[in-house]
Symmetry: none
Subunit: 409 residues, 2 copies
Amino acid sequence: MHAPSNLTLLPPLARQTDSKILFVVLDGLGGVLGAEPTALQRAACPNLDALAAESALGRTIPIADGITAGSGPGHFSLFGYDPVEVDVGRGLLEALGLGVDVTGRDVAIRGNYCTLDAEGRLLDRRAGRMATELAAPLADLLNEAIGRIEDVDVTVHAGLQYRFAAVFRGPGLDGHVADTDPQVEGVPPVPARALVPEASKMARIADAFAAAAREVLGDRDAANGVILRGISGRPSMPTYAEVAKLRPVCIAAYPAYRGVAHLLGMTVRDEIPSTASIADQVTVLEQTWKDEHDFYFLHVKKTDSHGEDGNEQAKAAVIEEFDALLPRIRALEPDVIVITGDHSTPGPMAGHSWHPVPSLLWGPWSEPDAGSVFDEEACHAGRLGARLPATALLRLALANADKLAKFGA
Amino acid sequence: MHAPSNLTLLPPLARQTDSKILFVVLDGLGGVLGAEPTALQRAACPNLDALAAESALGRTIPIADGITAGSGPGHFSLFGYDPVEVDVGRGLLEALGLGVDVTGRDVAIRGNYCTLDAEGRLLDRRAGRMATELAAPLADLLNEAIGRIEDVDVTVHAGLQYRFAAVFRGPGLDGHVADTDPQVEGVPPVPARALVPEASKMARIADAFAAAAREVLGDRDAANGVILRGISGRPSMPTYAEVAKLRPVCIAAYPAYRGVAHLLGMTVRDEIPSTASIADQVTVLEQTWKDEHDFYFLHVKKTDSHGEDGNEQAKAAVIEEFDALLPRIRALEPDVIVITGDHSTPGPMAGHSWHPVPSLLWGPWSEPDAGSVFDEEACHAGRLGARLPATALLRLALANADKLAKFGA
């Protein structure tokens, strides 16, 4: 028996109703159980604990046991799209996240500015993690100098720090091209390599772009070249409306998460600045609540950022910040609440990990657990199970919101 | 996330032995855990509790987390056929769901009464979602007026609201016929189209049925025509004998469950009236026990019926009625006993639900749990797990009955 794909299972069952699902992603929420308490265990979060007392808890697996999810796949999984089935490239996610209007025929690349020596060998794959405001003008330089390669329009879009997205629009492009990033320093970037015959033109264009960028930036001491990663075309996948008949809205401050939302056809509240606090986001949630949406995706970034930095205290503080806002959120009276993460980011590991993610489902028929704590231990012992596939959360939320018809008369 | 299909896994391993499996389905057995006790928790069932003390318990998932099973898919899953993989046609499921005893040679259709204009164009595909009690007499009209087309007997069965099932019984019928539903209004229903050459007769009969229905209902302002959907014959799937080398027998009082049994090639004890009590069914079980069967499917309907009515006390009373008969059943000395449900039907929800189903496995090597209660909580905590795929129950029953050879020499 296969765990069936939501993409085939849900469309015939999904039905539109007025009930509202609030889907909160505390990015990188999970920790690792061991000698030290996790950030979630450190955090004093009376409101989350009170909600947990009325909720079913569990730990969710974004992809598979032992597999660490990136942010993109982690989110796709939460939204019910099996990331193994739906292979979304990082380049596309980056471009979407930067608000670029990527069409179905474009190919997108996630680039790094890098520092090369005179012989073209990599001295620093991230150009010293240069500041966003220093990197931004480089995109303008590249756009002015390049613009078009053969019959392909090229646009470069500044990202965070040393990152950029490049979008290639023209006939005959296929995104199945391997990265030019050798993953180590001391060697030159590798030439772009077509993974399928149809992608040979795109590989040629990618190499021409890297050469042109080196031409434009080559006089600089640092950030004088580019490496190209996550080269990808738009995957063929149904929208959220098509899968689940939802009218979803995304309330996220960071571009990458808006990118995922754009790709799924969600309405995206683009007015939220990347500096928005969680409270600012909750204000937008409140303003949007009366709109004709039935799925509210609220994304909190900084749990992950602090986990990546190994700062469990700061991560716990973000959880507490969210906890303090929970009464405002509950006052909106959503019909179903999910609180989860897209993956774990344990502080002691200072990076994403494969550990199951604490998850909470509140709804009229959620079968609440007996406890009143929201942490990894309680979730491990919870009703949703110690290793629920993350793709199941959406189904349970839809079921609790009465948005799924019976399978078979 | 994958689990192997029984349809490929079992045939090379299954072996016929004299051991007897008793497979009891208390329809809609499960409840929802929450503030109120479930029917199973309310019921005083000392014999089930005593059996539970010698059994492994668990909660089973018929299809997938969050997906509510209809009776047909719920039973297919219990019998080891993944309902997503087997793809039983909607027409067939509708007919089974309405209690029609469908044989392996019939074709069933799920129909809508619709409203057509004078030119035969669809004004309303669902006839204003007419009330069930208004639609029911239309089935009688159609049965009186039509009855037979060419050499095919036609019976129409009232469903919920604007829905009905029509069953076609006669030689040379094949269900591979496309819907006549154009999915939009303002155009006429499309003619039935055979998807394979063998289905041309059925397509012709379907069109003749739609024309005859238009003749009968045409004077009405609304619900003056039909559209035909989910046209389906017996799905191409192996029989129970082919999958598991079993010689199964069905002891069910309600037609729909006999229908499922017929489809799987079970022997069906047709002499049982639909008014039979559980005790009457146990008498048939006793009479059949010495026959050459090794799999006894005993179906109890009224747990579900009372759950659908929201009557937890009556549902609990049915469980108690079964419990009182358990000593007679155990006196037959089955080698393996399974007691489960095809889905949950919590009284507070007054309908089927997605909640995992309490399940019990008694056998020589079942690994009994420590407790001595049979209810949702004990099953949640039981050895079989909180969310065992229902398709696994058959494998565990066969294994305990020594009916499965080793996988790999």
